[in-house]
Structures are given as C-alpha cells and as structure tokens.
Symmetry: C2
Subunit: 415 residues, 2 copies
C-alpha cells in the first residue's frame, strides 16, 4: 500500500497572468478516454484543431498546430528550426520574456543583437524598423504581450516593414492570443507562438504555433527524416540540420500533415483540452472575447484606482489582460500575496527583475476574466491592505467596479 492520498487541490480564484483557471468544459474534455494516435477518429480531431487554430490566429496559413510542451517549447521550436549557427537575430527587449527570446536564440547559435527600453515602455515601431534596416537580421524576434510589465508592443507596422526588407518576423503572442487581437496575416507576421494557459484557459502543456510558406521554405532546406521511419526520397543528411529532433518543425509538419509520418506520440488528453478550449473561444467569438477582456480590465482598473492605488501600466500600450499595481510604500508585497492566498484563496502575481517587489500583477485572462472574480479580488485586496495598514480609500474599490458593470448594462439596455 501507499501513503499517498487523493490529489488535494483547493479551489482557487486565480488572478495571475497565467496559468489561470481552466474552463470547466476543458477540464471535462480531458477526462475523455484515449484514442490511438493514428486512429482516424483522432487524426480527425487533429485536423479540426488545426482549423480552429487558424481562426484563432486570424490566418490562412496551412500550418497551425500545437507543439507538445509548455509555451516556451513553441518558441524554441520556431527559433531552433529557423536559426542556423551565425544567423543574425534582432530582439527588442521590453521585459523578461524578451530575455527569454534572446536566451533561446543564443542557445540556437544565433548572433543576437539587442535593443532595450525601460521596463514599462514599448518601442516606437519606427525605431524598431530603423534598427532592422541597420542590423539586417535574418529574424526579428519580438514579444507581443509582455506579462512581466503588462505592456503590449504594436506590430502592425513592424510586420509589413520586415516583409519588405526580407526579414522574418517571429512573435511571442503567448499572453495575448485569445485575449487581444493577434492578426497574423494582416500584420504580416511569419511565425507566431501562442499560449494555452492564459487567455485560452487550457492548462499549460501545449504551445500552438503558426507559420507561413516563407518559414516553410527554410524548413524544407534543412529537412531530414529519422532513419527508423524514412522512406525513399527522404534525406537522412543535410548540411546544417535542425539541432533538435523534438522541436524540428519539418518533422512535426509531416506528422500533422497528410503524410502522418510517425514522430512523437501526440499528447492525447492535452489535445482534447486544446480543442475544447478553442471551441469555447470560437463559440464566444473573437471580437466578443476581446470585448469581454476589455470590460473586466476596465472594472478592475476602476476599482484599483477607487481604492487609491496607483497603476504601473496605465498607458496607451497597456496589455489589456494584465493590470500592474504599484505596491504602496511601506507595504510588504509578498505578505499581501500570502494573505490573499491563505485567507481568500486568491492568487495574484509579483514580478521579475527590476520590478520584483515593486508591483503586483493581476491577470484578467480567459475563464478567470469574469465579474465575480474581479469583484472578489477587489474586496479581498481591500481587506488585506487594511490589515497591512496601507493608506487606501476604504469602501470605494468594489463600488467603482460595480459602476463600470452597471454602466455597461445600461448602455446595452438602451441599444
């Protein structure tokens, strides 16, 4: 016999920038019994998931499928499949996840060029374009929604400019996908990586990616097939092979495509989860979903301001799904977070690097992004701050948020 009990997982209100609460429909979908990886019923589910990902990424790309790993596995799959040793990669950094792009590009053998701006700001698009012209990289790798600072980098001019210059644009849209517009085709982005555990409300463990035929051409030039499964006409040697087997998009594509060439064993239950999460998303509608995220962001911001707290990212380039609050002087941010968790079962986040200990980050993402969560988080934060003797306005936080919700109801009623 074993001493291990049933899983003890208290039900939390998760208001971090991810992972957030999984949609209950997604949780149920994961309990579906397994299918074999080449069962026609399963390959049909794979194909449907690709269709739904195309819609979510707003793209006509043929290739849109998940890499079986957490979000950064998708980033690494794209970068290591594209980067050959010595390739120039330009990374504009405006928070922690820019450093991650750098880290992955360097490990893939790239000559990395950096641009940096203060955490809390984003880049003027023209400045990035000028730097692209100067450096002439093979790839511009850039974060869209930077959760560490709650900022969102506009890309609508950067993408087309890079296209014209023959530079590939690779975008980390892990935090924004499903919560804010990510227009892959309109912005002319060449490869984009999404996340599941944030605005799509599917547990961590899959990394949806999409890429176009410009990327595919590079993959084709580096493609080799495992000896154990190669057929006639498959190369087993190429000049500069992709350094990873697991992340080799040319092989993944053969597994997701009509050839169905055996690679890994697709993560069955996670794929069920992703499919259901995308189904929920598309049933709600992309525009309606972005609007919902905006509404709860507005209510949360109004509530925090009403409490007299100062926002760190109250800027035109705010990431709508993450709201950052300056920790009031004299208050121990970690003590507040602990009390929120221990007494109220609410989780909010701290931050990294230069912002560590200076801000709290509150996510309003996916299934966690709903009225009762926003109101509960505001009420709890007020109570905890009173307990910490912070100089706040008492009784106004929840009221201001309610005002936002009631205004919207009145507006909707008057239409």
């Amino acid at each position: 016999m074993t001493k291990y009990r049933e899983i003890q997982a208290p039900l939390r209100t998760i208001m971090t920038p991810g992972p957030v609460e999984a949609d209950p429909r997604v949780l149920r979908a994961m309990a579906t019994p397994i299918l074999g990886q080449f069962d026609p019923a399963f390959t049909h589910i794979m194909n449907e998931t690709m269709e739904m990902l195309r819609q979510t990424f707003q793209t006509e790309n043929q290739w849109a499928f998940p890499v079986d790993g957490t979000s950064r596995s998708g980033i690494e799959a794209v970068l290591c499949s594209l980067i050959e040793p010595g390739d120039k990669v330009l990374v504009p950094i405006f928070g922690r996840f820019g450093h991650l792009l750098t880290e992955i590009a360097e490990r893939s053998g790239a000559e990395v060029h950096l641009m940096e701006c203060a955490w809390g700001r984003v880049f003027d698009q023209q400045a990035v374009i000028e730097e692209v012209k100067r450096v002439r990289p093979k790839i511009l790798a850039i974060v869209h929604g930077e959760t560490s600072t709650g900022c969102m980098q506009p890309l609508d001019r950067i993408g087309p400019a890079c296209r014209e210059l023959g530079v590939l644009t690779v975008v980390d849209a892990v935090a924004s996908i499903g919560g804010a517009p990510v227009k892959v085709d309109e912005w002319q982005l060449d490869a984009v990586i999404g996340g599941t555990q944030k605005c799509i409300s599917v547990p961590s463990g899959m990394a949806p990616v999409t890429y176009n035929e410009r990327v595919e051409r590079i993959l084709a030039s580096r493609k080799k097939v495992e000896r154990g499964v190669a057929g006639d006409g498959d190369r087993s040697e190429v000049a500069r092979p992709i350094r990873s087997n697991y992340f080799d998009l040319s092989q993944l594509q053969d597994y997701w495509g009509p050839r169905r060439l055996n690679h890994h064993t697709e993560a069955t239950s996670m794929l069920y989860a992703l499919r259901e999460g995308l189904r929920v998303l598309l049933e709600e509608g992309l525009e309606e979903r972005f609007e919902r995220h905006r509404l709860h962001e507005q209510a949360l911001m109004a509530g925090l301001r009403g409490m007299g707290l100062e926002l760190f990212n109250d800027v035109p380039w705010k990431l709508p799904v993450v709201t950052c609050v300056k920790i009031p002087a004299g208050v121990d941010g970690e003590s507040v977070r602990s009390m929120l968790l221990d007494q109220f079962g609410i989780e909010i986040a701290s931050s990294f690097g230069p912002l560590h200990g200076r801000i709290w980050r509150i996510g309003t993402m996916g299934y966690s992004c709903r009225k009762e969560n926003v109101l509960f988080a505001l009420a709890a934060l007020e109570a905890v701050l009173i307990r910490h003797r912070a100089p706040i306005v008492i009784g106004r936080g929840v009221q201001e948020a309610l005002d936002v919700y009631e205004e919207v109801r009145l507006e909707t009623a008057s239409v």
Copy 2:
C-alpha cells in the same frame, strides 16, 4: 457560432505498444481544477510526484521528475544536456528506437558510434562492454524495451561495467517502466527516461527522467541562468552551454528543487495525471504489477499459438509487454488491422522499417493489460482472420488463454 461539435472519441480497446488506455482514475484526476505553479498546494504535488518516481525507478537519486513533453522529450533533455559537440556516444541499435537515440545524439553534436544487430535480437552484454572498451565513449545510450521488435536488452552487467570504465549509461526505458523491472540503482544506470503512455497508463505528454550525481556534475559545469530571472552568483555565460533552454536539465532541476526558480509553467493537469498514475501503480505494487503483465502476456501468447499463429519474439529476451505475431503468408496485415478497428473497436499495431508488413504488435500494457482485453482481442482476431481466409486453427485461441487464467486461479486457490 461554430460548427464544431463535442469531441467524438469512440471507446476503443487499445492493444498497441502505446499509447494505451488511460486508467479511469487518471482521467478523473485530470478534471481537477488548476492550481498556480507556485501555489504551496501545487509544489507539494510536485514533491510527492518526485518521491513516487523514485520508487518507480527503484532509485535513491535526488532527481526524478517529468520533462513536460512526450517521451522523446525526456530522451532529448538527457542527451542534449550531457552531450557537448564532439563527444563520443555509443549506440547499440536493435530496432527503431535505437535509431532515435542516434538521431538525437547526432543533432546534439555527438560523434556517434553504432553497433547494430538484426531486428528481433538483442546484444550479448559482453559484446557491448567490449565495444565500450574499444570506443571509449563519454556516453553509452541504449534502449531497454524496444517496442518495434518486442525485445528487451539486459542491462545488469552493462551498467556496472560502464561505471567501472567511467562511461555514462543513458537508458531509454520508455516502454518497460511500470511493466517490467527497471532497476536504476542496482544496474548502475546514470540517467533513465521513462514513458507515461505505455505501462504507466497516463496519456502521452510527460517524460519522467531520473539521473544521479555523476550526471549532475556535468550539468553544473554547463549551467547558466536566464538573464530575466538570474540572481547574484548565477552565471549567464559558460564555455559550452546546453544548446536548449527548454531541455536544460540544470534549469529544470532548479525549478523542481528547493530554489523553485521560474522556468516553464509546469503542465498542471498532466502532472495530476502522472501523480495519479503513479499512485495507482504503487498501490498495486511494483512486483505485483510486473507479475500481472507476465500473466496476461502468457495468456495472450498461449491464445495466439493455439490459433496456429507464429510469434516473432518468442525468445528469452522477449519484452513482456509487447507480443509480435508474424502475419500469415497471403494475408494483408493492414486490412486485418482496419477490420479489427472498424468492426471491433480494437487497435493493434504494425511495425517499422524491415518489419513493416511482416508482423503485428500487440501490447499488454498498464490498464489495457487485463483479462477481458486479452480474451476480446483473441476472439476478434480469430473472427477477422477467418474473414481473411487465413489458415488458422478455429476455436482454440480463446480456450488456450482461458486455460492459462484458470490454471493461475487453481494455483492461487491451492496456496
């Protein structure tokens, strides 16, 4: 609105060498609501899972945790974390998954040396030891249970010999773990990778690994920390860094260890699944579980023989969880597989490379390894073979299997 319906996943009897039927308790565990990755309730679950993995791997190693990806992600994590460009790696190949080890080692920059034997055989341990002495590799990478041929390589002498020679032994135990003994410490294996979707009966998507302090020393020498989360004393540059961020075991270890340094976001639901799968396994008991796998293997083999079919891997080195059947002359193996799936909802496998079209592979793994599945598979196979006008003995397959089960019942009763 969307056109997508609920997931359509017919309930199958999965008798392949993986993925197999997930234990219903595991499926239920995945429906547990999410916890945040640094929630104490979640890090407790991480710690418990490490403990249970140690027991499953029969090791005292400190490090035993899952890599978030399918089985080959664990293999790649171990090999790419250990291999520096130019390192010699010796791979004895006796089936498809030896080629996979080669493929991953090559992509990691290794100078790979091969030994090959015919598919269906394994290596004499002394021959491997002699080759290790001749080549003097840094690493011997070898498969334990080779599902493509249904063979299992003995390792009890290879491990200690390599230890004495200062060679690291890396073992792919994806197919054997949880179904046959994998004695990490007793066999002196330095790093071992297990699979979840086979004898542990957890869906694909996690790759448990374990390694000892000899491996850890190499990791320490190559360790660097992401700039976005590095603290004082962390190096951000090393001479020959691990080429992957996602698979960097030195970073994974900092996330699984007491430092809890942020790396990826642990795949919450898959970890719940793995924990529950291991709990089921340890409740059954390792020895009892191996015995159960042996029993159903014997019943299946008796049934197949009774039908007059010839076994491909009726050898002393048979992998007890995979039984390979020679496809009778004149029978279309794929047509038989299709009819089994379409009419009976039963999935069995074909094979790869030189065995493609020559054998069927029937798995008896984990939750799929039970009496009703064995009896149903035998009955269905007989019916389908009659339909294909194969020259078989009619009416004996199920009877022979029943005899095995009744013998065991009698033996147990007489104790």
